[in-house]
């Protein structure tokens, strides 16, 4: 079978909640091994779009293909293929980091060997026996990332993985992601509020606001669009406001 050009292919997807149109006909693609950043302020529709790709929400219109497969008929295969981290997920407080990882590993029929590997990857070996509620914000995010990569996913979908973290903790997460790209050719779709996260990590950037894509391409390509010097400037020009508003 010929290799597909895109591992993720989103075609004209729309989604509404009651009277709010969260996503208004969005299309985007991601190649194997490509890191794509989805930038936008709160309420831009990023999370809804990512949750549709994750199979958690179902589009009202349009189609989503992951490695050529759709959620409707390939749920089991797609769950095996993707790794994800949701915004603000809280694991069970009274489980240790190790028990949490073992629990999720069991869903993929993985044993303690893989769990140990992941702890090494996320640099949380010393905190294996700590209860989740005793972990710092950065450590919890690393645990969430560890859970996301347990099954060696072909594609990682991370919804604001570094929100609320200090610069050091943020850099630690970025380095883990870059290692994954180098070693496993993992694809990544990441939503973020942080321009520098997109610039540092991603091959392509998509800017979204009010349910639509305003611009997309490599950093150079999108800056060239209006002769801007920075992503901030471009963003203000496109949306009339700062990304963090």
């Amino acid at each position: 079978m010929a290799e597909l050009e895109y591992i993720v292919d989103v075609r004209h997807v729309k989604k509404s909640f009651k009277d709010v149109q969260a996503v208004k006909g969005v299309s985007l693609t991601i190649r194997q091994g490509e890191f794509l950043a989805l930038l936008g302020p709160n309420g831009a529709g990023k999370t809804t779009l990512v949750e549709m790709i994750e199979g958690i929400q179902h589009p009202d219109e349009g189609e989503i293909f992951i490695e050529g497969k759709q959620w409707k008929n390939h749920q089991h295969e797609l769950h095996q293929m993707i790794g994800l981290s949701l915004q603000e997920t809280r694991f069970m407080d009274k489980l240790t980091a190790y028990e949490t990882m073992r629990l999720f590993a069991s869903f993929y029929k993985l044993d303690s060997h893989r769990v140990d590997e992941v702890f090494k990857l996320i640099g949380l070996e010393e905190k294996k026996k700590s209860f989740v509620n005793n972990l710092s914000g950065g450590q919890r995010q690393r645990l969430a990332l560890g859970v996301a990569v347990l099954n060696k996913p072909k594609i990682l979908l991370l919804d604001e993985p570094t929100t609320g973290l200090d610069p050091n903790a943020r850099h630690e997460i970025w380095n883990i992601l870059l290692d994954l790209k180098k070693e496993h050719n993992t694809s990544l779709l990441l939503t973020s509020h942080y321009m520098e996260e997109a610039e540092f990590l991603c091959d392509r950037i998509v800017i979204m606001d009010q349910g639509t894509i305003l611009a997309g391409g490599t950093l150079e390509e999108i800056l060239k669009l209006g002769g801007h010097h920075s992503l901030d400037e471009l963003f203000i020009n496109l949306t009339g406001r700062h990304i963090y508003e």
Binding site: L84, E88, L95
Partner: protein, 372 residues
């Protein structure tokens, strides 16, 4: 062994159990509190010894200023102890138990205040020619006090000791209040443990987006719910065993009926409330709403199902409804096994109805269950 410990059902059960046993408050409310309740209520309503009735004594005596002039007063003066306007008197009876009477001599205003504060239940108006009794006829304690005092007033303290030979105190097992209470507490334990332990856990995990995160993996949804039910059932077994052990050691509670019937009913009760708990927690992600829903389910049943006192005091038309509430069915059947020697054939209908309620609720709950 590795295959078992790596299995998702094993891991889910272990995770749910760890969460329960690592929370000291859960252990207190699940295990210690029911035992304390059994101990407190068992002691309060089973203890023998003196019964104490307190009354206000108001004098309405024309032309007299001493209590000695009326019949009641003369009995009190002759047989009681008078101290600072308080008259005490002990009525003795070996079979009925002793009764201690205390009369506070006071004004009308003060007597009504004492009545409102619950310090007394009866006002005795001692008049020159006769005695009047002021009390709420719906209050059983006041009614008993009235009967005692009116007899005392008419026949003197000797009346309480008459006809001892006609009284045969019951010492049969299963007739004490605590024998009524323990099966009820065991039934209530199942309801409380399932509704809070299953429903609240589901709602809490939904609100923390953990359910959403879990179903975004190849986890089987049924395994998640099954693990939650199994973990809770294991806790319920431990809670019930400890409560029974305490009742057996402290109150001498025994099971006169069939153990297999008791186990079958315990299982059916757990199935019923597990199913109901899944159903009521199938939608909401808001713990405060969840709190309200759970309370709306458990509070009415706790009040009407006859856990602490018999539901036969409710109006007749409500009894057939009350009898078919899941908690009533469990409590009544437990009582018949504990106290009346019931066997499996006596409770199989209840066990079947409870299992059906649980299964139907579980299926509906699963159909409408919101994982996201």
């Amino acid at each position: 062994m590795n295959r078992i410990t790596n299995h998702q059902l094993y891991r889910l059960i272990a995770a749910h159990l760890a969460e329960i046993v690592r929370e000291p408050a859960v252990l207190f409310w699940g295990i210690v509190f029911p035992i304390l309740m059994a101990w407190g209520l068992g002691i309060a309503f089973t203890q023998k010894g003196e019964v104490h009735f307190r009354m206000a004594l108001v004098k309405t005596i024309t032309g007299q200023d001493t209590i000695k002039e009326t019949k009641l007063a003369s009995y009190l003066a002759a047989n009681g102890v008078i101290k600072d306007s308080t008259y005490s008197m002990l009525l003795k009876n070996e079979k009925l138990g002793d009764v201690n009477l205390t009369f506070f001599e006071t004004s009308w205003t003060n007597a009504f205040t004492m009545l409102k504060q619950g310090k007394i239940s009866l006002i005795v108006e001692d008049r020159t020619t006769d005695t009047k009794y002021h009390f709420d006829p719906a209050n059983a304690e006041a009614k008993t006090a009235y009967q005692l005092i009116s007899n005392l007033s008419s026949y003197g303290p000797g009346f309480y000791n008459d006809n001892q030979s006609s009284i045969e105190p019951l010492t049969l097992k299963g007739t004490r209040y605590v024998d009524f209470l323990i099966p009820g507490l065991l039934a209530m334990g199942i309801m409380m443990s399932c509704s809070w332990g299953i429903s609240y856990t589901i709602i809490d995990r939904r609100s923390k987006k953990l359910l959403r995160r879990m179903v975004a993996t190849p986890m089987r949804k049924s395994n998640f719910l099954l693990a939650l039910i199994i973990a809770r059932f294991s806790m319920n077994v431990a809670e019930a065993a400890l409560l029974f052990l305490f009742a057996w050691l402290y109150f001498g509670t025994t099971i006169q009926g069939s153990w297999p019937a008791l186990i079958a009913l315990f299982l059916a009760g757990n199935i019923a409330f597990s199913g109901i708990s899944i159903l009521i927690s199938s939608h909401t992600a808001n713990p405060e709403i969840g709190n309200g829903i759970i309370n709306a389910l458990v509070t009415p049943m706790m009040v009407v199902s006859g856990i602490f006192f018999s539901y036969h005091n409710f109006p007749d038309w409500t009894i057939p409804i009350i009898q078919y509430l899941p908690l009533t069915m469990i409590a009544d059947s437990f009582r018949s096994i504990f106290n009346e020697g019931a066997g499996f054939m006596d409770v199989w209908r209840e066990a079947l109805v409870l299992t059906s309620i649980g299964t139907v609720s579980f299926i509906i709950g699963l159909k409408i269950f919101k994982w996201y």
